[in-house]
């Protein structure tokens, strides 16, 4: 396989695909390498390639093929491979950690134990089969040209207050993920529903003010950058911060009341062809070099040293961060009835928004 560069499979919104397929594919390392590692992930290639480059160059004789997938498709294809006994990806990395957890729970992952995995906290390592490799915040994003400091919502209560007045200029200009289309959006919304009673008021405020549920981190942040949306809620911080590096108008707020913390989950499929190599890659991701590469890609956000200036951290950082832990509770949101009910509730709030089709995040 030749390096194809960046191939965008998603050409048309809502294009139905009969066969789940990667959105983009890229390879790293020498073409004639003796060992090949197939990594499938939901992370944008642009965010993740530093790490893979680094790993491939360190190993020398290793080539990494990276396929970028939508989270639901990635789950479907991994389950199918697991059921049918097909030797497929060597590593699967997804921001939809609930789906990743389900894969491991259902016996589709294989254990990998090393000094690096042993150092992981319990919330980021389940059975030595699923590992949280990143640290990303669910943030509120705004455009500093359009909102002055006094108006900036520092918490969900602020956001609800902004939306409350009938003549609020924020009506119809707040965006969030469409949870039907985005696995990550569903995960965040479901976690919100678990965290606090504010979820009810928030979703009601969204409904009354005609908030927009749409697809995809990139699209939403674009909307904020160009002024279509004034505020985006529950955006994955890594994308927002990466954009903020280039566009100083973009600012991310980690809400004061609580901030969800997501650790992208990696697992080695049970039928991986190169489990040892995948384990080495995992150890590299958890190593200091790997972590610093992930940090420079904004996939690990350090909140201890105050963070970058375009990220506004809560005052009481210690109690505000709520990691989405790798525990069986993640299975609840995936329950058929639970999901149906939750989506029904969501749809009643956003009656006019349809599913946005294939979504990366």
């Amino acid at each position: 396989m030749k390096p194809i560069g960046l191939l965008l499979a998603m050409m048309l919104a809502g294009a139905a695909v009969a066969q789940p397929a990667p959105e983009a594919v890229k390879s790293y390392g020498p073409d004639d390498a003796g060992r090949r590692l197939l990594v499938r992930g939901t992370t944008d290639i642009a965010r993740f390639e530093t790490v893979m480059d680094l790993f491939a160059s360190r190993r020398g004789d290793t080539r990494i093929d990276y396929e970028q997938w939508g989270s639901n498709d990635l789950f479907e294809v991994t389950v199918a491979d697991c059921r049918e006994g097909v030797e497929a990806a060597d590593m699967v990395i997804s921001s939809a950690v609930d789906l990743q957890f389900k894969l491991a729970n259902d016996g589709c992952a294989r254990a990998h134990r090393s000094a690096a995995t042993a150092r992981l906290p319990q919330v980021a390592n389940w059975r030595d089969e699923v590992f949280g490799i990143t640290r990303e915040l669910a943030v509120i994003v705004y455009n500093r040209r359009l909102i002055d400091d006094a108006e900036v919502p520092r918490s969900r209560f602020d956001l609800i207050d902004l939306l409350r007045p009938d003549d609020s200029r924020f009506r119809g200009r707040v965006a969030t993920y469409d949870i039907e289309a985005s696995g990550l959006g569903y995960l965040f919304a479901f976690a919100d529903a678990q965290q606090a009673t504010t979820f009810g008021s928030l979703i009601e405020a969204f409904g009354r003010s005609g908030a927009v549920a749409t697809c995809c981190s990139a699209e939403i942040i674009d909307g904020v950058a160009d002024g279509t949306y004034l505020i985006a809620y529950n955006v994955l911080g890594s994308y927002a911060l990466a954009r903020a590096e280039r566009n100083p108008d973009i600012v991310a707020v980690a809400p004061d009341d609580y901030t969800l913390v997501l650790a992208r989950a990696a697992l080695i499929p049970r039928l991986a062809a190169e489990p040892d190599l995948a384990g080495a890659f995992l150890d590299f991701l958890l190593s200091e070099a790997g972590r610093s590469a992930l940090r420079s890609a904004q996939l690990i956000v350090s909140t201890e040293e105050g963070g970058p200036e375009y990220l506004r951290l809560p005052d009481t950082a210690e109690t505000s961060f709520r990691p989405i832990a790798l525990t069986p509770s993640l299975l609840v949101g995936l329950d058929r009835h639970k999901r149906r009910d939750f989506i029904a509730l969501w749809r009643s709030t956003f009656p006019n928004e349809g599913g946005a089709g294939v979504t990366p995040e």
């Binding site: 259902d106 389940w126 678990q194 525990t327 069986p328 609840v332 329950d335 009835h337």
Partner: protein, 463 residues
């Protein structure tokens, strides 16, 4: 064996070693028993606690069932799964079935329960799983029937907990074992300390010191010390007997032998055959007396030796009396003397040494023959608490002031006679004492004189 026993100590292993082995066996058996019990307990404790979590989760799910338009809706509470998260590494599997056994929600890998069992085993993703089953009956207009909720979890946490409980119990057992061993070591040491004290006391004695050992010892060793003291006492007595024998022999035999020598010298110088024959006659008389004296001396020594060394057995005193009379009759050549017997009908059994008793009896007869008047009667009688074995005659007997002293050696009325060493009554007294009895003398009437031994009866209870 004997020679080895005499040549030194026969070692049968150290006491501490034996105690150690016994203790180790007890601890090992106890340890294994406790470990098995702990494992069983750990397993059931782990099973119970995690079963409760399963049932709790299943109950929460069952409690979340709702009806909407005749359809069962399951609204699984997150807390149900938080409960299951308490087994942090175990896979979770669940399913809800309607009254027809159709899967409402959950994993289709779970088979509908076919009984009312609350718990059952199975497997999921290639691992053993423990399932809990809760049935909820719904009686509504739109739905009438039972809904089955099944929640399962792999058993890693149970196994870990059971192992942990067992391990902790083993650590506790090992610690207890160490403490017990330490205490046992101290106890053994302190228990053996009196033995060492005894050893020091015995080792420090001079070879001539045959006094009883006087060391403070606990009850358990007291019998050992008593036995040791008895042993020392026996050696002491026997040494004394030996000394007595030597003293007696030198004292008693010197004079008659000197006399014999004098006579023999006279015979050598004798002028004529007539004189010579007379002297030889005297030499013969004297040597016969000397041989009697030697007999008595040796008898006395033998009797006293026997008293210490011979086991007492059941003896019928009537047999003793007859035997003594028979033996006495044999020593007589003529029939000039008759010894009568006065014996009861029934057996007179007591613990005794027949040989020494016969010897004592013979001495009494000899005494009566020598100093009393016929008729001489050997009698045995029952005196209530004791038996009496003795001899009576018609003479005056010895003077009353000599009675108290009669049992001691050479307490002869008038020095040593040529025929008797005056040992007769002393032998009788020694035999009586060896039988825990006494020699007694009395004069029931003017012309009667009795010397007898009083022997304790065998107690009825013991017999």
């Amino acid at each position: 064996m004997e020679s080895r026993a005499r040549s030194g100590t026969r070692l049968t292993g150290s006491l501490s070693f034996r105690l150690g082995v016994a203790l180790a066996v007890v601890l090992a058996i106890g340890g294994v028993a406790v470990s098995l019990a702990a494992y069983a307990y750990g397993r059931s404790a782990a099973q119970n606690s995690y079963d409760r979590l399963l049932v709790g989760a299943a109950n929460q799910i069952a409690g979340s069932l709702r009806l909407r338009g005749g359809e069962i809706m399951v609204d699984i509470p997150v807390s149900a799964f938080d409960l299951l998260s308490l087994a942090p590494r175990d896979r979770v599997v669940y399913a809800v079935f309607d009254d027809r056994g159709q899967l409402i929600t959950g994993y289709d890998a779970v088979a509908p329960p076919d009984g009312d069992d609350e718990f059952f085993g199975g497997s999921f993703a290639g691992e053993p799983v423990r399932y809990a089953h809760v049935r909820r009956l719904i009686s509504e207009r739109s739905f009438l029937g039972a809904v089955d909720v099944v929640v399962g979890q792999t058993i890693e946490a149970r196994r870990d907990l059971a192992q942990q409980v067992t391990r902790n119990a083993l650590v506790a057992v090992a610690a207890a074992g160490l403490v017990i061993s330490g205490l046992a070591f101290l106890a053994v040491n302190s228990a053996l300390r009196p033995l060492r004290r005894l050893e020091r006391d015995v080792a420090a004695r001079s070879s001539r010191d045959l006094t009883p050992v006087d060391v403070e010892v606990p009850q358990e060793i007291a019998s050992l010390v008593a036995a040791l003291n008895r042993f020392i006492g026996r050696i002491d007595r026997q040494l004394r007997i030996m000394r007595t024998l030597i003293a007696d022999a030198s004292h008693q035999l010197r004079t008659p032998i000197a006399a014999l020598r004098a006579q023999a010298e006279l015979a050598r110088e004798a002028p004529d055959a007539e004189e010579m024959r007379r002297i030889v006659e005297r030499i013969h008389d004297r040597s016969r007396n000397l041989s009697q004296l030697t007999d008595q001396l040796l008898n006395h020594a033998m009797i006293i030796h026997r008293a210490d060394s011979v086991e007492l057995t059941s003896v019928d005193l009537r047999v003793v009396a007859s035997e003594a009379v028979a033996q006495f009759d044999q020593t007589l050549t003529g029939a000039e003397l008759e010894v009568r017997m006065d014996l009861p009908e029934e057996p007179m059994i007591c613990d005794g040494d027949a040989l020494s008793l016969v010897e004592a009896c013979k001495n009494l007869i000899n005494n009566a023959v020598a100093y009393g008047k016929p008729p001489i009667t050997v009698f045995v009688e029952d005196a209530g608490a004791t038996f009496r074995l003795g001899v009576r005659d018609r003479g005056d007997g010895m003077a009353e002031e000599m009675w108290a002293d009669a049992g001691s050696r050479f307490a002869k009325r008038s020095g040593v006679s040529s025929t008797s060493a005056g040992l007769g009554l002393s032998i009788v007294s020694a035999v009586a004492q060896a039988h825990r009895g006494r020699m007694k003398i009395r004069r029931p009437a003017d012309d009667r004189f009795e010397v007898f031994v009083e022997l304790p009866k065998v107690s009825e209870v013991e017999a």
